[in-house]
Symmetry: C2
Subunit: 370 residues, 2 copies
């Protein structure tokens, strides 16, 4: 059933960095690396007819997952899917409107609807996801690890209650202030659904999992702890991260969460994702040796000329500094109109510049000798 997982990985630098083990260089991948900025992706997307058809067809999801690996020396693949597959499987009828983003045909608007909400069985209600994972793992042939992912309970709740994307989060904040117990009931269900979903991805063969808390950053800190972080912790507590002698590292990413790293650490994930507003060096001093850090080049940097991209890559690496526990990434998803050559220049620069930050320097040897 999970034949893919039996093949040893040829490149595990990404997994080792997440566990803060020594590596000879800094691994690199990009959020949304399988996506619209690639012409070959746009061709498959057109063939599929719709974004959701692409997600729901394992053969096509597999094809686009592997596309960026053909072009670039990436250290991880990430399952092509969407964080809103869970609410869709709960019956909210996800659709993508061109130029507008996701929208639910049946948004969540009453306490009774929250109570009735079913918790999907991933192998039955979301079977296309583990099927895609198994196929991708087979095709990857152990080239690089495969990342599985899900949205955080808070972020999923936000989309479900707002009915789609939002600028102001009026409805979900209204719920938070007016009927917090209904929101807690919703978040509890979502945490259990996310855990089941990620465990199905792990059973199908993913090598690491990441939780995207895209909208945690719109909360006041005490609300972030109560309504986002607590449920990210409830997900983690249920994950089967030890499997056949392997450890499945976990990553938690709250966009706009740079102020709350100390609280985030307590949730127990192996690594924290950082957006581009957080100074990596300062973040590292704050977290010490407790977690790895993933990030955090401003995605807009890729609009700039190649020399600027290279200088900014070097700056991010230098900000983190010497040593292990850093996964290079953008601070958010790659933008759809970026020139793929600019993405390639970024990846090449990480390969070129990062070994110097991992080499054992004379000072370092001296320190060790003390």
């Amino acid at each position: 059933m999970t034949e893919g997982t039996e093949m040893p990985l040829k490149n595990d630098v990404f997994l080792r960095a997440l566990l803060r083990q020594p590596t000879a260089r800094t691994p690199v991948w990009m959020m949304r690396q399988a996506g619209r900025y690639l012409p070959e992706y746009r061709r498959v997307r057109e063939r599929a007819g719709s974004f959701m058809a692409l997600c729901r067809t394992p053969e096509l999801a597999c094809e686009v997952t592997l596309q960026p690996l053909e072009r670039f020396a990436l250290d991880a693949a990430i399952l092509f899917s969407d964080i809103l597959t869970i609410p869709d499987a709960m019956g909210l009828e996800l659709e993508f409107v061109e130029g507008e983003g996701p929208r639910f045909g049946r948004p969540l608007r009453t306490a009774a609807a929250v109570r009735r909400l079913p918790i999907p069985d991933p192998e039955r209600d979301l079977a296309y996801v583990p099927a895609a994972v198994r196929l991708i793992k087979r095709r990857l042939e152990g080239k690089v690890p495969l990342i599985g992912f899900a949205g955080s309970p808070w972020t999923l709740a936000t989309y479900m209650v707002e009915g789609g994307g939002s600028r102001e989060f009026r409805r979900i904040k209204g719920l938070l202030f007016e009927q917090p117990q209904v929101l807690h009931e919703l978040l509890g269900k979502l945490a259990d659904a996310v855990a089941l979903y990620l465990n199905a991805q792990i059973a199908a063969g993913v090598d690491a999992v990441m939780i995207f808390d895209t909208w945690g950053g719109v909360l006041a800190r005490h609300h972030y702890r109560e309504f986002s972080l607590a449920y990210a912790g409830r997900v983690l507590a249920q994950l089967q991260c030890r499997r056949e002698g392997r450890t499945i590292p976990t990553i938690f990413f709250t966009k706009g969460g740079g102020q709350w790293l100390e609280a985030m650490m307590d949730a127990g994930y192996d690594a924290l994702g950082l957006d581009w507003t957080t100074d990596l060096g300062e973040a590292r001093r704050r977290v010490g040796h407790r977690v790895a850090l993933q990030g955090n080049l401003d995605p807009m940097t890729l609009y700039g000329p190649i020399e600027v991209i290279r200088a900014e890559v070097r700056r991010v690496l230098a900000e983190f500094g010497r040593g292990n526990g850093h996964v290079f990434n953008l601070g958010h998803g790659i933008l759809p109109d970026v020139d793929p050559e600019h993405a390639g220049a970024m990846i090449a620069a990480v390969h070129e510049f990062s070994p110097a930050f991992h080499a054992i320097s004379p000072e370092f040897s001296q320190e060790s000798a003390l």
Copy 2:
């Protein structure tokens, strides 16, 4: 010319809090307190015909500035105007499109246009602003201080280059990465224009000034320092903050800037504004006694029931804790569909709960005696 300023203030608790002097309670005002949530504002706005006509007519700007003071026990008035009056006076032709927000008829799109950009003379090109200040000061009769304000150079540049509001900041970030020297030229001009503008407001009688850096938070930290904070410093260096024996306190507010308080302090403003994502107590520990803090209730709290509003006010006050140097405010502007009674409940709660945080407690006396 500035007859209003000669009248002594009957309530200076806001100014004293900004200068971290002792007060018997915490002063309170609201960003956008003269605005759409008030039915009496909407009537005047309709009479004016357009938002800009309202800004440009001192009699009407004065009327709406004073409206919230009739309803609520606020500790400050803030000039009714818009941060985009400066780009408008530079020739960009500001308009407000219903439901869409601000837009420029002639956005800034070339280096040559940046070079040609004139620096407005406030008393000639923006005469309606100092005229409104003089009128408001007269009508206030020293009841509470009047706050003058401007947008930060970075935030103004953002609107000017994007042509209006933006979600992605693609054009201004493109300029930052591709032609940083053009952006620096623009920001330098804007800093000088903002300083002239605020000095004209000070000469006309405002008692404090605030800089709104609405979009500083979309920058990476090193870019925030280089493109936002440096120019906020260049504004401050030119401000005439000592006038006829009085000190005009200054406030700097970067939305999303909670990670950068230490850097912001170095800019030299008397007080820093905080949005609702920052823990006030932690912020206070970080800034020590160097600056006052203003904020930071989540504006969405006002959608909640009165008991929740009261509990959240108490929480914000307790987070800052005992002592001086706190100005209570929302973490961003009051939302247009808030019930004015809920705003009133918030203000009343600050008056009710805050004296306890200023009273000299037995432990405090003991400490003093040591």
